[in-house]
Symmetry: C2
Subunit: 318 residues, 2 copies
Amino acid sequence: MTDKKKLLVIALGGNALLDSKSKGTIEEREAAAADTAEQLIPLFNSTVYDVILTHGNGPQVGNLLIQQEEGSSKVPPMPLDVCVAETQGEIGYILQKAIQNAFEKHNIKKSTIAMLTQVLVDEKDPAFEKPSKPVGPYYSADQTREILKIKNWKFKEDPAGKGFRRVVASPKPIKVIQTQIISDLTKDGYIVISVGGGGIPVYHDKNNDIAGVEAVIDKDLASAQLAIDLKADKFVILTNVEQCYINFRQPNEIKLTDLNLDEATTYYDQGHFTAGSMGPKVQSVIEFVSATGNHAIITHITKLVDSLEGKAGTLIHL
Amino acid sequence: MTDKKKLLVIALGGNALLDSKSKGTIEEREAAAADTAEQLIPLFNSTVYDVILTHGNGPQVGNLLIQQEEGSSKVPPMPLDVCVAETQGEIGYILQKAIQNAFEKHNIKKSTIAMLTQVLVDEKDPAFEKPSKPVGPYYSADQTREILKIKNWKFKEDPAGKGFRRVVASPKPIKVIQTQIISDLTKDGYIVISVGGGGIPVYHDKNNDIAGVEAVIDKDLASAQLAIDLKADKFVILTNVEQCYINFRQPNEIKLTDLNLDEATTYYDQGHFTAGSMGPKVQSVIEFVSATGNHAIITHITKLVDSLEGKAGTLIHL
């Protein structure tokens, strides 16, 4: 089957699936997913684009880690790679269902598939030397001492004094293991939901087996890697602001509507984009644009269609 | 792409993924999955069969429900449909990884895909009137009274006096929503892992939207429905015994090696097969054989290859 459409990879932010201010009830999650599906309808209906969706899992994996910790005297907790897989199940299902219902409502004859996705990392990635990404619940100093007797975890004290949190490595994604099938299914007309939570982190162990690793992969970097390997025509990161800024929330704040690669790199190097927030998003689009020469956009989901028409968002190009 | 192979649907029992006597640590799960993948190699290598895998989730969803309950003061628990989705993530990933590694070891050039799978049920299914399937942790009488103030759950007292357990409906599967894509991917040469835990239970709500429902679907019945709709050439249920018996564990116990539909139905109606165990397996193969006229097998994974050659297991036919 040949396919002449342009390929568009869209990375959905956590807030597209669960507002960070909400508690995370099923009603809140389903409402957020339904909103997101509705906003994406113009693209699902598009004759111009084939769309691939990826998504984050921050609040969801946080909740799961708390549940695991609370139940740990009765049930063996799973390692972080398995937890990411669980959230791919949870979020993939909720998002898929919302999209199916939006298709039905708008009489769109398409199907979605939500697939488990592994992402390869390098066990020698320097990130494993300096775990920095906080995950899961807060612990007291006493609790961390107890945990360290049985587990090889690292902890970091919360600057606001809420206690200690486990920190894990956030290694660089090398390859989305399921890239080929994502491509095949997209060409066949399916809307594929994949790379949930940045993907299940795996590496090649000493027997060259695929093995899980306790880490989290940035979902924007993993999505960029997928977009690069698929030579996507466009890569869009949806987040909670309509565009990027320099001097964000300062008197000399400037909205960025159009950036070439040099400008984006300069602002990134100058530290205008927060680590763990806009930073990895800008890094991801820089990697995509450098590798493919194609356009990338950072915007809010409500501005997605306008952004694709050049009327909103931050466009990053060569 | 045309495909002349025979289609074989294999339903893996929970014990193929997690021994019911184990605690459910990740090491136990990965070892069980690796064993299962190794046992399936002759079929993945087969020039005769295309293989589709389905699997249970009993112990895994039980553990997840305990974790959710223990964490419920801090994190909103998810409804049962979402929990099934989470276990599809967890088990699908572990099984997929084991199969990838077995492919690599045996130099098999195939890929697996683990997909989230919804299964349609009827909200008017009589099972919803009489919830009977126990799920999740044991509660005291006091705890059940507290829960009933806020939730519309049903409880049943454990006959062995361990307390009360929530009981949910186990409605009949009508259709695996992802049937078409499972078929497409299998024809394209992928090993598809789907219908985990009997599938995520969904129904058409009053707006005709797909909505989740708090129920569990028997994984053998759901797998049989998939096999029927795909007109599979053979349907195999793998379990913890090598074949079915009548008068099981009694002095007049008889091994069943070959049953026609009439015999199977008669023994089933006579109550030879335990509810919640061999009962639904025999019911599932009866449904498959009646609908398709093709052969079904119930056996242990170690006898799978022999069973396909007619040397082991219980064969059920017209």
